[in-house]
Point group: C2
Chain length 411, copies 2
């Protein structure tokens, strides 16, 4: 197991190098990585074939996430170049002030240091995370899933070739040499070598990391997103938004799981919703919902907590906005909650009182995504209330240090 510690020691040394090189060098490294991904397409696809062959028994959805083809490989390279094209953050002076004693106090943006990404079977996370960490001046340690092991090794070879091409240490991006869970437990204890851990994947994996970590962990266990259809909602808009939030991609964390319907408009809205969903979604509702939507099955307490990740939707009638907010406080996951309303006062109350990481007015929860919200690429979504809360991009991988310039001041 010292192997794992060696990885972290090498990452810390590499982090110091990456933090100090110019933005221009980091940008050149990202383009060199994109070039290497394209140049090594054949090896990457062969490795991916091996993973797919070994994972013949995997579920179809999992195999689809795992699978690479020339178009997807080109997409990985393009995503790295997109990260390269974003403005550089490191070294930026964010605040500056002169104190009464003449000390000039500034805060300067710096990398976090070493970031540990723990994820499952998506090989694109390997290159996305490497690119975002480099962009923000960090070293990273990647621990992907066993199912993508060969693909990740091949992608890592391309990443490291890119690093070497510009004279950066290959240890700036490393893959943990084993996919054992014990390796995770050991890594997340190394709080003097690793600055942040971002686990992505199923709730079981994330709870395992949280359980064992001494390193700060930024995570979200699940996304139980809500849409509340207010009494003053445009009901057609509400039905379209709920449909989009549920149907466009039911398996992702920003899909809606529970719709809260204001009692004042329930009789009009629920039939409209049923028509809009046109039988594609299984509804589970309380007694009022069942009366209005005969196809709905009864919802149990568990349904209010459920992240279905499927074409299933819980629907509950609530008395008013206060009851909707109370429902979210009890059952929500601090991810994303939308109100549909034409009443500005209701919208402002929603924004002020719902304390989820993303609160929305008259828009689909599916927009809770780093790209859609203008962060550029996304490294994860945080429901941990730290410097990153909600979708998290390159800036979430940085912090600020104090820079103090004086002329001999003593205290």
């Amino acid at each position: 197991m010292t192997q794992v510690r060696d990885v972290a020691v090498a990452a810390k040394a590499a982090a110091r190098v990456v933090a100090k090189v110019s933005a221009e060098t980091r940008t050149r490294a990202l383009h060199a990585i994109a070039d290497a991904i394209l140049a090594q397409e054949a090896q990457i696809l062969a490795a991916n074939e091996a993973d797919l062959a070994a994972g013949a028994a995997l579920a179809a959805a999992m195999r689809d996430r795992l699978k690479l083809d020339p178009k997807r490989v080109a997409g990985l390279a393009a995503a790295v170049r997109e990260v390269a094209a974003a403005p550089d953050l490191i070294g930026r002076i964010e605040r500056e002030e002169t104190r009464p004693n003449g000390l000039a106090v500034a805060r300067q943006r710096i990398p976090l240091g070493v970031v540990l990404m723990i994820y499952e079977a998506r090989p694109n996370v390997t290159t996305d995370a490497a690119a975002l960490c480099l962009k923000s001046g960090n070293a990273c340690i990647l621990r992907g899933g066993r199912e993508a092991q060969e693909s990740n090794r091949a992608l890592l070879a391309a990443v490291q070739a890119g690093l070497r091409a510009v004279g950066l240490p290959a240890a700036a991006v490393q893959l943990v040499p084993t996919t054992d869970r014990e390796a995770i437990a050991e890594l997340v204890k190394l709080d003097e070598l690793i600055d942040l851990c971002i686990p992505r994947g199923g709730e079981g994996l994330i709870r395992y990391v949280a359980e064992h970590a001494r390193v700060p962990v930024i995570k979200h266990y699940k996304g139980v997103c809500h849409v509340y259809v207010h009494a003053a909602a445009d009901l057609e808009m509400a039905a379209r938004i709920v449909e989009n939030a549920k149907v466009s991609r039911p398996g992702v964390c920003n899909a809606v799981e529970t719709v809260l319907v204001d009692r004042a408009i329930a009789e009009r809205f629920i039939p409209l919703l049923v028509a809009q969903l046109a039988g594609r979604v299984e509804l589970r509702g309380d007694a009022t919902v069942q009366a209005l939507a005969p196809s709905a099955r009864p919802a149990t307490e568990d349904d209010w907590y459920a992240e279905y990740l499927d074409l299933v939707l819980a629907v509950r009638v609530v008395d008013d906005i206060a009851a909707a907010i109370a429902h979210i406080e009890q059952y929500g996951s601090s991810h994303t909650e939308a109100i549909i309303t034409a009443d500005p006062a209701a919208a402002e109350r929603w924004v002020r009182e719902v304390d989820s990481s993303t609160v929305m007015v008259n828009a689909s929860t599916r927009f809770a995504d780093g790209g859609e919200l203008g962060l550029g690429a996304e490294i994860g979504i945080s429901t941990t209330r730290l410097h990153a809360y909600g979708p998290m991009g390159a800036e979430g991988l940085t912090t600020l240090k104090f820079v103090v310039r004086g002329s001999g001041q003593v205290r």
Copy 2:
């Protein structure tokens, strides 16, 4: 032990109330707390007497930290009013942008939620932490040291009287009902109730917290601060700064522990330093230092890691700025490092390459303090590289949520 969990459950409920009230209510609460501290002076001093009587065997420095008198009580109230007077942060829109699809995306400053402060014998932390947490819209759970138990109870009574006076829940500021270490271990696991833990005190206490925590912990284990006297330093200034950084208050974390002297000026500087310190400080040095300062004792490897918190200073001669930075990378604690130089290029290199939370040029390390750097009051110093890195005030107790306003957008 369910007692401890009950405290956290009550804190979370109170946090929701405190987060939603107006800035004006929070300000009124702070003034009501200050008023109550003054009104209850007699009870506070009596409780403090009881602590001092029970702690007759404590070291003099500890007793001094623990002791309250009418002037100190007035100081506690004044500190609370100072926090009240600072600008309010909660609800502030920090960024706003309209996406190509018309979504208006803003980031709004919000409280973290529930903050757990773990500290030792200083009763002033009780009121300071309560005030900063309230100011930033958070609830807090305080776990002070056994030695200050009665003082903390009396101060808490005043704080809760102030909360009640403006109709806020008393559970917004609570004291853990026991000072057992086991209660800490239980509390820091409650990551669904507590958002952040800030331990302050000895390294043993902080390591204990880090060991058991599942809640994010912001901490610094120790402050091994450095002053590097560069070849181009004003040597008189350097000697004055080192003297101030060591002698003005040797027992605090921003006192200098190791001075790195550039070889080019060692022969001139070290005798100057010896004269400036005038025998008040025990020096421990390498061979070159000992040759130039005959009173210096030999330094061992342990001295480079040491946080003396005393009138002892390690002195090492280094070849150049690169060697000084390498020394800090190996032995430093990411707290505060100052360079003394008249060479702007050296100063810029220092600022860029030293990755401690506070880097200084031509000033005493003693300025690494929230008040001195303009944060208002300070709740702690972080060497954890998260949203707070370095001195941490009210803003370090907040984060940003995404607020998205649309007009029916779907994805």
